[in-house]
């Protein structure tokens, strides 16, 4: 099952998450050339905070702030957990 949160609007991001054998993070960002590391950091930290591993996360970023990326990821994780 794939779970998602967010949108593809400007200043937002669409996050999809699914179970996986190992944790993988894909980032496609319109500001990736400058902020890839920051976005990756935000995703990793949020996964750690939420005690989540063994997931594949995809971030389609349209210029979201870290706050938004974290919030979207938390909601996607919640949706995944609630469905289990």
């Amino acid at each position: 099952m794939i779970y998602q949160a967010g949108s593809k609007e400007s200043n937002d991001c669409l996050i999809t998450i699914k179970k996986s054998n190992e944790t993988k993070i894909h980032i496609d960002s319109i500001v990736g050339h400058l902020f890839y590391d920051q976005i990756l950091q935000a995703v990793k930290e949020t996964l750690d905070d939420q005690l989540v591993d063994h997931v594949e996360v995809t971030v389609e970023d349209k210029g979201a702030l870290d706050y938004t990326i974290r919030a979207r990821l938390i909601v996607a994780i919640r949706r995944m957990k609630n469905d289990v």
Binding site: G6, K8, E9, G63, A71
Partner: protein, 418 residues
């Protein structure tokens, strides 16, 4: 617990889900929203920006439009049956060229994919790529808000000035005009002439602009009636000063004050009432018995002859202006509208000059029988009016109001006066 930011994010996601759902019905979907910083996405500036984009003037044609209010601000979704790529190209141009285009986001979706620009948007403060500024938090909310506020208010004031000026000039330049002041004659008014009218116009318009500025930032209209009235009185004083105590546009100051403050109030927020309903309500606020001194000739006429004049017209939400709007398409219709108004409205100004109710009725009859397509009939009746010192200030005021409202209606979908 959800914070306001969480709720804004929720509202955004809901919009996205709506778009996905609507895709069943339309290949191309366009969302139009305002790009405003901070957590209050329903600020008056947001509405002013969104309402500056009249749907009829958007660069694409749509099958259906959906309007929403949300914590992420008000927005529209358009179901479009046109190739998404070409729509995107045209909406990018709108974002780049419209005076307020930099403050809106027009997203175009093709089969659930949001098309992105090849050239990224620039920050309007510093010219960097906008997304970079956002992520780096280059500019404070205050800095952004001040810039948006100044640009938006100036945009509205500039256009408002033109609408008022044009409406007044169309009336003034109509000639012959049944005893009213024109370029070639002062008509039945020995104390006025064309240049005096122009001078007064220049003096009073700034007060109209001040009324607009006030109307967009207030919370409840009813709490600011005295402030609007004060601006109206200041406009009157400025008029009397420049005319040396001649009443050139006093009635107009009342009508336009009511129209402009209601217009500004309306386009700067979400409304439950229509423009017509709001005009009526606001007219009642201004003309509450406790506020009205029975001092004008109009008041005396109402008591003596039950001719209600300008105030009656306002209290009934301008039934004759609403009718006149159906007759008015452009400047060429000004004479037709003026004659319609002269014949139909209860004009205390005319009554004053007629000196008797019988003569007043006779004059009305002359206008009923006038065929405006016959220039010599128009000329003859104008000469008759001047000879009898008749004039139709009340009708001329409402002609200006009609032309002005027509302009507002052409530019804002929200303003309709039916």
């Amino acid at each position: 617990m959800m914070t306001i930011s969480d709720e804004i994010l929720d509202a955004r996601e809901n919009r996205y889900l709506r778009i996905l759902k609507l895709h069943v019905r339309f290949d191309t979907l366009v969302s139009l929203k305002v790009n405003y910083p901070g957590s209050d996405k329903n600020e008056s500036l947001v509405y002013l920006i969104l309402n500056a984009f009249n749907h009829e003037c958007l660069p694409f044609s749509y099958e259906k439009v959906y309007s929403y209010e949300s914590l992420d601000g008000p927005y529209y979704l358009f179901g479009v049956n046109e190739d998404a790529k070409s729509v995107k190209k045209k909406t990018i141009e709108l974002e780049e060229t419209h005076e307020l285009g930099r403050f809106i986001d027009v997203d175009v979706y093709n089969k659930k994919e949001c098309l992105s620009r090849s050239v990224k948007r620039k920050c309007y403060l510093c010219g960097r790529i906008a997304h970079e500024c956002v992520r780096l938090k280059k500019h404070s909310f205050e800095e952004l808000n001040d810039y948006i506020n100044e640009t938006v208010i100036n945009f509205y004031l500039k256009h408002l000035y033109d609408y008022i000026d044009q409406a007044m000039m169309v009336e003034l330049d109509l000639d012959p005009k049944f005893g009213l002041v024109t370029k070639s004659t002062c008509g039945s008014h020995e104390d006025m002439d064309y240049s005096l009218m122009i001078k007064t116009k220049k003096e009073i318009i700034p007060y109209f602009l001040d009324m607009f500025k006030l109307s967009v930032k207030i919370d409840k209209y009813e709490d600011f009636v005295d402030d609007f009235r004060k601006l109206g009185l200041q406009a009157e004083q400025a008029m009397y000063k420049v005319t040396n105590h001649v009443n050139t546009y006093k009635g107009l100051i009342f009508h336009m004050g009511l129209m402009i403050s209601t217009y500004g109030y309306m386009i700067s927020r979400e409304n439950k009432l229509s423009f017509t309903e709001m005009i009526q309500r606001n007219a009642q606020l201004f003309l509450k018995p406790s506020h009205v001194k029975n001092s004008t000739f109009g008041d005396v006429a109402q008591q003596k002859y039950n001719i209600k004049g300008a105030k009656g017209e306002a209290l009934e939400a301008y039934p004759h202006v609403r009718e006149a709007l159906k007759l008015y398409n452009n400047q060429a219709d000004a004479l037709k509208v003026l004659v319609y108004l002269i014949y139909n409205i209860e004009d205390t100004n005319l009554l004053k000059r007629s000196k008797s109710l019988d003569f007043y009725k006779k004059v009305k009859k002359l206008f009923k029988e006038l065929n405006i397509n016959h220039q010599n009939q128009v000329n003859q009746l104008s000469e008759y009016c001047i000879e009898h010192r008749l004039s139709f200030g009340g009708s001329a005021d409402l002609l200006i109001v009609t032309i002005f409202i027509k302009k507002l209606m052409e530019n804002h979908k929200k303003i309709s006066f039916l």
